[in-house]
Structure formats: structure tokens, C-alpha cells
Symmetry: C2
Subunit: 204 residues, 2 copies
DNA sequence: ATATGTGAAGGTTTTCACAGCA
DNA sequence: TGCTGTGAAAACCTTCACATAT
């Protein structure tokens, strides 16, 4: 089996949200060009992306939204009850926690960690903050596979190592540093300053 | 002139930070394999990326850090005094503002906007919050080209239109919606829930 | 000897274009 | 008709490999 490109996965995540909104609005069927109008991708791109999902539409009525959604969910592995955690409850960490709490996504943040004793034991936006030293046991007990890393840059490498030791499989890293960890751990870097500089470059 | 790929620009931004740290540590010269070790990219990739910058190293001593930095700065357009603004001072907006204030990046956030009268007129992390209705004049006066969009999802489209009208050239969008605006405006989407789902997918 | 710059090869992703279907 | 699924082409990006420089 040949692996699906990152870009395709990103778009499938997007299509899932768009199609889900259409379903919530009472729509039952959808054509690729309708998803295209809302997502910005071309109809051909969408059809190509959906090839990997294992559900086919029909030329007559397009895609049955219920079945399409189920296909994307299964493909993305969102049916299994995976969980995420967040490490570092500074203002960015707490903002992300609040954002997830409001939006109520499929993938829940099941635990938070911080080294500050003033924060541990407290519930932030519905999520309990554990001491960082409990990482391994909490991550194992709650079956957490993914971590959001929002600690200050000086602590990021050390926290990442702790997470890997605790059995995490992927890290969403907001610290402006390239983490040096095992290559089988998936890392997505989301430094905000880098993002603004990128936008600035392409804004001319 | 053929345009540089997005991926290359992202890496150049990263190299700039890495090399700058080396300079701050007193280093004067650097080889591609040294940048490679810290950035995760291959030496060949780095040399290829640097081709577009217009500064050449030498096989004898690699790259002179001072000159390399200047080349990257010029290439990225960071020498001109561009500015950014942030729209929406909820907890995420304020967290990003605080993060920029601490890290003190080259590209500064020169203004903030919010519709809440309780926030306008107040300085957050060194940046004054203006009423959203003043967008056009403030953006023109302060020569702001880029906006960070951190408003709730329901307001994102409308705020984006206001920004475009105010003359912005690029938007870093944290709201989980695809903005429908002029195609000559560069948009980078950074929805956090999408990011976590992506990491979850690739974590197996 | 060791590192750079780059043409060429290799790999990946997007777009095109059309057969086939309801 | 107007859509889907998909080979084939095109565009894009990365890696290889080597001439060149010191």
C-alpha cells in the first residue's frame, strides 16, 4: 500500500469539516465542485484525494454525505478513541486548551502537564493539570498518542524527550526549535514567528 | 526570475534563525553540514536552497556567517521595515501578542484591533488596541502589510474582508474556515485542531 | 582532502482529459 | 447531459553525483 501524501491528509481533514457542516445544514448529497467552492481546492484535486479513502460517489448524485463522512473518519483513524495532551500551560497553552474546549473537536485533550506546582491539581477549561513528572503514567493510563508542546523554547527539547520516553507517537511543536528525537516520532512544527515571516515574504 | 518554492522559503526562515544563533554564540563561519545537523535538512538541500539567495560560500571555509545572514535577510525582505497587526484579542490573540513581545522578532506587531470597547485604547504587551473601525487608517499610517487573524470563526470572513479593504497583502489565519477573498492576497491557514488531527494521523 | 554550486536524475504531487456511467 | 474515477502528462521538489575551488 502506497502512503497518502501529507497534503492530501491535510485536505481530507478540511473536507471532513466542510462536509460535516453541510450535513448539519440538512444536506444529504454533495458534488466535488461544491466542496471545491468552499475549500479552495479544485474538483479534480478533491476526487483524487478521495481515491485513497475507499468510498466512491456516483456520477448521478455525487457523494452520499453520510457514507463519505464515515469513509473519511475511518481513513483518518478518528473512530478509534485516541487522545491528546498539552505540555506547558503558559498563556499560549491555556489559550489552545480553551479553544479546544469551545470547539469540542473529535480528538480531545485528555490531560495537561506543567512543572509549576501552582498549576498542578487545577482544572483549566475542563482539563486537569498534572505535574510533569507524572507524564509517563498519565499518558499510558489515558491512552494518549499525541502531544501539543507549548513550553518555553529552552525547555522544549527536554520536554520532548520526556514525552517520547512516556510513549508519545507524535508532537505538535509550537516552540521555535527543531526537536532532536527518534525519527519514528512524527513532529509538526508550528512556530508563529516563522509563519508570519512566511506570509510577509509571499505578500508581494 | 523564477519563483522560489514555499518549502524553500520556510527553510530559509529557519536557517536564518539557526545561523543567527551561531553568530550570537561567536561563530564566524559555517558549513552546510553544520546547518544540516541543527535543521534536519540535508546538506544538499541547504546548498540548493541557498542558491536563490545570491550569496556563495567557498569550499575552503563554507559560508561567512555575517554575509550569509545579510543575504538571507535581503532575500526574505526583512530589511524593509514591514509591520504586522493582529485582529482579535481573545486569549489566543493576547497569547500570540505576548509571545511576539518576548521573542522580539524582526517583524513587529505594530497594532492590534478588537471590536470590544472594553479592550480598545488599552496597551497589551506593548501594543495598543484600536477599534476595528480604525483598521483602514491605522494600517495605512503604520505601513502594515500582514495581519494575524485570531477572531472567532463566525467573524473571520468579515474581518478578512475589512483587512483586504484596508490594504493588507497577506493573512495568517487561525480561524477554522477557508477565507473567500481576492486571490492576490496570500493566506496561510493555521487551524490548531486541523494540526492536531494531522499529527494524530501520521502518528502510527 | 573536503566543501561548494549545479546539471541531471529521481521522486512526489497536481492538473489534464477522457472513458464510462446513471 | 454532467458527473465520477483514473491513466497520463505536467509541474514541482529533493537527492545524487561530480566538476570546481582552495
Amino acid at each position: 500500500m502506497n502512503k497518502t501524501p501529507q497534503k492530501t491528509v491535510e485536505r481530507l481533514i478540511q473536507y471532513r469539516r466542510i462536509v460535516q457542516q453541510m450535513r448539519d445544514a440538512g444536506q444529504e448529497k454533495v458534488f466535488s465542485h461544491q466542496i471545491a467552492r468552499v475549500s479552495g481546492a479544485s474538483p479534480a484535486q478533491i476526487r483524487r484525494d478521495l481515491m485513497g479513502v475507499g468510498y466512491s460517489g456516483s456520477p448521478a448524485h455525487g457523494y452520499i454525505i453520510h457514507d463519505l463522512l464515515q469513509g473519511i473518519y475511518e481513513f483518518l483513524g478518528l473512530t478509534e478513541k485516541k487522545g491528546a495532551c498539552i505540555v506547558g500551560l503558559g498563556s499560549l497553552g491555556r489559550a489552545i486548551l480553551g479553544y479546544f474546549h469551545e470547539q469540542n473537536p473529535v480528538l480531545k485533550i485528555k490531560a495537561a502537564f506543567d512543572t509549576d506546582p501552582a498549576k498542578t491539581g487545577i482544572v483549566f477549561h475542563g482539563t486537569l493539570c498534572h505535574p510533569a513528572s507524572d507524564m509517563a503514567s498519565v499518558i499510558r493510563d489515558k491512552e494518549i498518542t499525541v502531544a501539543i508542546l507549548t513550553v518555553p523554547v529552552e525547555q522544549a527539547q527536554q520536554a520532548a524527550q520526556q514525552l517520547v520516553y512516556a510513549g508519545i507517537r507524535g508532537i505538535l511543536n509550537y516552540a521555535p526549535v527543531v526537536l532532536d528525537i527518534r525519527p519514528d516520532i512524527f513532529v509538526e512544527n508550528r512556530d508563529m514567528i516563522q509563519a508570519v515571516e512566511k506570509v510577509a515574504y509571499f505578500s508581494k
